[in-house]
Symmetry: C2
Subunit: 354 residues, 2 copies
């Protein structure tokens, strides 16, 4: 490719606020990030939104036509097969045919995952992909990736081990943790704690020399910053993710309700406006973009269905970071045992093979 701009396919039709908010986020991304966007969707619905920005053509944005969308009420597999030209299918094909390097979608997450599996396939060595979510921690500017947050329930121990491998690569190269620490979400610190899958996963994670496993992480460790990667079954991960998102909103509500009470409260709250804005940024989940679908042979970001422009923008940035850091190439090498997490030799010395 002549340009170093990352090429990202965005599903313009997926999500509660599609296509308007998706397009707003995408336009902002073309302006502020080094990205070219392929906006996949129905041109008749997309063009009026593009024209609001002064023109229906944009230097770094191209519309790729698709027909229909997988509805939230649809069975993913049935929908994907019935609507072959649905936006999520077309977006995945952009990556498959190497016209794009990543996909971002805020549509039906089950359908996004199924489309990725069908069109891109799994990475070698990964039996079941996981959705990774990035959480802020108590330590400023330090985040943790939790996987899986909803792709699989009833995980077996070996799946949790594979999540550990993927999380390690992602944390090291995309999040820039030189010395990532991996934990297993569990109900106690001791290796004997937890359900059957957790007890067995502890053994596998500990025995795997490629994984910098430091032990069990409890619920409180999600935010402690003691771990860079936390692996768990998709059931518990999903509950924690949705709880965490709600907690941020509840806290902001409590602040809005309690702070301005009384005369001193009103005055104090007025004085604190900029500081409150910073707090909102630290606890608001919209600031954190979307989940990364790890384990398929391509970069896919699955955003929240409720995503508005800032979330879409952040999801595109997440996709671009993954492209820039050659996540797929690195994962392939790592899964093939060709890369040691303690050295950087493999990938940087050879061109990406994707």
């Amino acid at each position: 490719m002549g340009s170093t701009r990352a090429k990202i396919a965005v599903d313009a039709m997926g999500g509660d606020h599609a296509p308007g908010e998706i397009i707003n986020g995408a336009i902002r991304a073309t302006e502020e990030l080094d990205v070219d966007i392929l906006l996949v969707g129905d041109p008749e619905q997309i063009n009026p939104h593009l024209e609001r920005f002064g023109s229906s053509t944009h230097a770094h944005l191209e519309v790729v036509p698709s027909e229909g969308v997988i509805e939230m009420t649809e069975e993913p597999m049935v929908g994907l097969k019935r609507k072959r030209k649905a936006s999520i299918n077309v977006a995945m094909d952009m990556v498959k045919t190497e016209r794009a390097e990543a996909v971002v979608s805020a549509g039906h997450s089950g359908a996004g995952m199924a489309a990725a599996l069908l069109r891109l396939g799994r990475l070698k060595g990964i039996e079941r992909p996981a959705i990774g979510a990035i959480f802020p921690t108590q330590i400023p500017n330090k985040s943790v990736i939790i996987l899986d947050v909803g792709a699989i329930v009833d995980c077996r121990a070996k799946h949790l081990e594979q999540f550990g491998l993927m999380g390690t690569v992602y944390s090291k190269y995309v999040l820039g943790n030189n010395d990532p620490k991996v934990g297993l979400l569990n109900i106690g610190e001791e290796s004997s704690k937890g359900n059957e899958a957790a007890i067995r996963a502890y053994q596998l994670l500990e025995a795997n020399a490629q994984i910098p496993f430091i032990g069990n992480a409890e619920g409180r460790d999600v935010l402690s910053g003691n771990f860079d990667v936390i692996v768990c079954d998709g059931f518990v991960g999903n509950v924690v993710l949705k709880f965490a998102e709600a907690v941020g909103e509840v806290l902001l509500d409590i602040l809005k309700e309690e702070l301005p009470q009384g005369l001193n409260g009103q005055l104090g709250t007025a004085l604190l406006k900029p500081n409150l804005k910073r707090i909102k940024q630290r606890v608001d989940h919209a600031e954190h973009g979307g989940g990364l679908l790890l384990g398929v042979d391509g970069i896919c970001i699955i955003s929240h269905g409720s995503s508005q422009a800032p979330s879409v923008y952040n999801a595109i940035r997440l996709a671009k970071d993954a492209v820039d850091e050659q996540v797929i190439t690195r994962l392939r090498s790592f899964m093939a045992g060709k890369m040691d997490i303690h050295s950087d030799s493999t990938v940087s010395s050879q061109p990406p093979q994707g």
Copy 2:
């Protein structure tokens, strides 16, 4: 009994801050609540603390001697059998021999549960007891009971159904919800969502006429106030509980850190002191006491190991509420199918049988 004061056995030796903070909480309870406390522990360690309150004898407090304590590092069953006079064993015996109506312990929670099972036995119809935790919700003065938060992992569907029965009775009579709404913690609203146990539990809960089941609760519903009772496997419940506790602390830390920044920040924060105190009360888990061990034949409150006096006081209040509301008698009737959640006829017309 001649008096209506509830008689509560408190394990003075269990917990990180035993016996000092336990005793402080117990003394406050005798002063502010209608309770008589049996303080179970080593008199040599207890008496100096009691004397700080002016006297080693107190009208509503009696010391019951015990020997030793189950350490956090001990295997519960081994410890309980080896140390027959350990404080938790002696405290349970107070209930078994009807000298007390409830037990409160902040010691090793596994040991507390095992001691309750060994000494008091299970309620008829309950295969495995659960620990219920009471969470505040977004709606002021409305709380939700989540069970199980750590007694059992790998729950089967019928255990979740039994949790639904117990939660219903607890919510209605102790928390005073006339029309309790029961939910199943899951990763989506549809009955087809979740792991095998959750899918089957949905069917059982829906089919059980004694349980006012309204459907699946997602992670965000823990705090929404849409549910009064949420049932889940102890693995996920424990993770959510510990996450929630930590989140409260993290939020308070963020407030402490961000609010006073800058000159306006300092002034504004000073003005907001009383309002911030109210916020702390709403998010601080110490305000919420302890977990209720439901399904054993006696009232047991399992408090957090880190409990200090306010938590101990709140745990005793929780125990007293359960005693006053004849939770065990009601549970027995309910499990025997003799009581309909929609009527109040059974218990109130007959004296407690325990």
